[in-house]
């Protein structure tokens, strides 16, 4: 757990030992039922989502799931979603909007899948549509980065009223290896790249990109207890806000990024 440099955090965030979205969902919610499919093409197992109960209150939960053993990871494409995964997520968010229940997303992905089939089915369009629709989704959205937050594929579930990061999660525009290959023509400089990219939770909190860093305890159940309480408080508070104020606040949150 003692991750010192930025790159150590990246490696820790990717570690197979690290709990995946399903673990958090099972731990936090009293009840969860998974709903499948995007109603257009298929069911992407890299994205899990459905209806859940948080202290008896309904919420829609969506997670990017890397899988827990080799077979599971292969089936879930290691958490790299195809367009149908993002479209399933959007379908569930629209459902949440209809019933005015909060959306909680758990983000853990190396990035949106980069392959022939993903491109053919419009990976860019699918992500763009999520950003666009989430901008004015008429229900509260909380995004929690629990592991690796890889670029557009992570952002597609993070246009939220609040973005939280677990202390040892990372969020980056490009993988440190990719960045090093472009900058220094060699992925072995990933360590240097990672520190330049400012991708740790504390970096991003000080840059004003995220709203909260969640302290991690070596004992996962206490991290889960903390998350559960905070999610309850946050969703309750957001639900009490007039919807136009909520959307205005969300707009302003993203509007000031980088300035």
């Amino acid at each position: 757990m003692a991750a010192n440099t930025a790159y150590d955090k990246v490696l820790a965030a990717r570690s197979n030992e690290r709990p995946t979205a399903r673990k958090y969902i099972e731990g936090i919610f009293d009840w969860f039922m998974e709903f499948h499919g995007d109603r257009r093409y298929g069911d992407d197992k890299a994205v899990i989502g459905g209806l859940a109960s948080l202290y008896g209150f309904p919420v829609t939960v969506i997670g990017l799931e890397r899988g827990t053993n080799i077979k599971d990871r292969v089936e879930r494409n290691f958490g790299c979603a195809h367009p149908e995964g993002y479209r399933k997520a959007l379908r569930l968010m629209k459902q949440a909007e209809k019933f005015h229940r909060p959306v909680i997303t758990f983000i853990d992905t190396a990035g949106a899948y980069r392959g022939i089939d993903a491109e053919e089915r419009g990976q860019g369009q699918a992500i763009a549509e999520n950003l666009y629709e989430m901008a004015t989704l008429k229900t509260p959205i909380i995004a929690v980065l629990i592991g690796e937050g890889g670029s557009g594929g992570a952002l597609a579930l993070a246009v939220a009223d609040e973005i939280w990061m677990l202390e040892n999660s990372v969020f980056s525009v490009i993988s440190p290896e990719g960045c090093a290959s472009i900058l220094w023509k060699d992925p072995k400089y990933a360590r240097e790249a990672a520190s330049c990219l400012r991708l740790t939770a504390s970096d991003l909190f000080s840059l004003g990109v995220i709203d909260r860093v969640i302290k991690e305890n070596p004992d996962m159940s206490s991290t889960i207890r903390m998350l559960k309480k905070r999610l309850r408080v946050a969703t309750e508070r957001k639900l009490q806000m007039p919807i136009n104020d909520l959307i205005e606040q969300r707009y302003r949150k993203f509007r000031r990024q980088g300035l």
């Binding site: 022939i116 993903a118 369009q125 763009a128 901008a135 525009v173 900058l183 991708l199 980088g258």
Partner: protein, 283 residues
């Protein structure tokens, strides 16, 4: 046809040997003639410019700088530029970013990778943004995101349609997650513009990739593209690395996206001005 190796850089000097040894540079005055980047035919520069920077021999589309694009699309002297003095800062103190910015400014003669403003197209007033491949490959950092966002906000307030020409390698990694957040920021502004019933037309030009494809490029009410343009989320080189095989001919070109249902129409460069004007007139 565009070169399939558009994004491929030679790994070492030897890789280029075959190509260069076959082609002997002709002895001609360079300021008058150029050899087409695609078919290698010698073409008179003047002829190329008269043909909207399309090779008269092979119809290869040269990329246009924003001022060239504006000259081709908008009514003479109608363009009023917005935010032309916004310049990027090296917020993260990223190595070599300052020198890259300086180089980009020098080579492109622009201050950032997008030019924004208002103009008339055949008398129809609209807000426009034109991205610039010569400025760090049209990558989107904070300033590009800010300029596009301000343009949409201006258009929303002043009830104007937006016409946007995209060309981009994606998010600008030298600005870290802040560049990624511009995808969200611009999308929020596009959505607001949309929700007041206003029109947004995007024209995708070669190449439009990464974070720009995955945000405002694909959010138009009407999405047009120039022929043969590379339009992708992950570029061909990245995909070839992932799947370890060659991509089929024409993959991720405008014609491919049209077939797959992701763009409305492919419009030739010489027809663009009229097409845009006709669409604007009907809104």
């Amino acid at each position: 046809m565009l070169s399939r190796n558009l994004f491929k850089k030679p790994n070492n000097v030897l890789e280029n040997v075959g190509k260069t040894s076959k082609y002997v540079k002709p002895q001609v005055p360079e300021d008058l003639w150029i050899s087409c980047a695609n078919c290698k035919t010698l073409i008179l520069k003047e002829e190329l410019f008269e043909n909207n920077k399309i090779c008269p021999n092979c119809s290869f589309y040269y990329r246009l700088a924003p001022r060239e694009r504006l000259a081709m699309i908008v009514d003479e002297d109608s363009f009023v530029e917005h935010d032309k003095n916004l310049v990027s800062k090296n917020i993260l103190k990223f190595p070599d970013y300052d020198s890259k910015l300086k180089k980009a400014k020098d080579t492109s003669n622009e201050k950032e990778a997008v030019v924004c403003g208002v103009a008339k197209i055949k008398g129809m007033e609209c807000a426009l943004f034109v991205m610039n491949s010569e400025f760090m490959m049209g990558s989107m950092g904070v300033v590009v995101g800010e300029k596009v966002t301000r343009l949409f906000e201006y258009a929303t307030q002043n009830r104007l349609s937006v016409v946007g020409f995209t060309v981009s390698g994606g998010a600008r990694m030298q600005e870290g997650v802040l560049s990624l957040m511009q995808m969200a920021k611009t999308s929020c502004a596009v959505k607001r513009h949309n929700d007041t019933g206003l029109l947004y037309i995007t024209v995708l030009t070669d190449p439009t990739t990464g974070g720009v494809t995955a945000s405002f490029a694909m959010e138009g009410d009407i999405i047009l593209a120039e022929p043969g343009a590379l339009i992708a989320f992950a570029g061909p080189r990245v995909i070839e690395q992932t799947i370890k095989q060659k991509l089929p001919e024409g993959f991720q070109r405008s014609e491919f996206l049209l077939e797959k249902g992701f763009i409305d129409a492919i419009v030739e460069r010489k027809a663009l001005r009229d097409t845009l004007a006709n669409i604007l007139k009907l809104h």
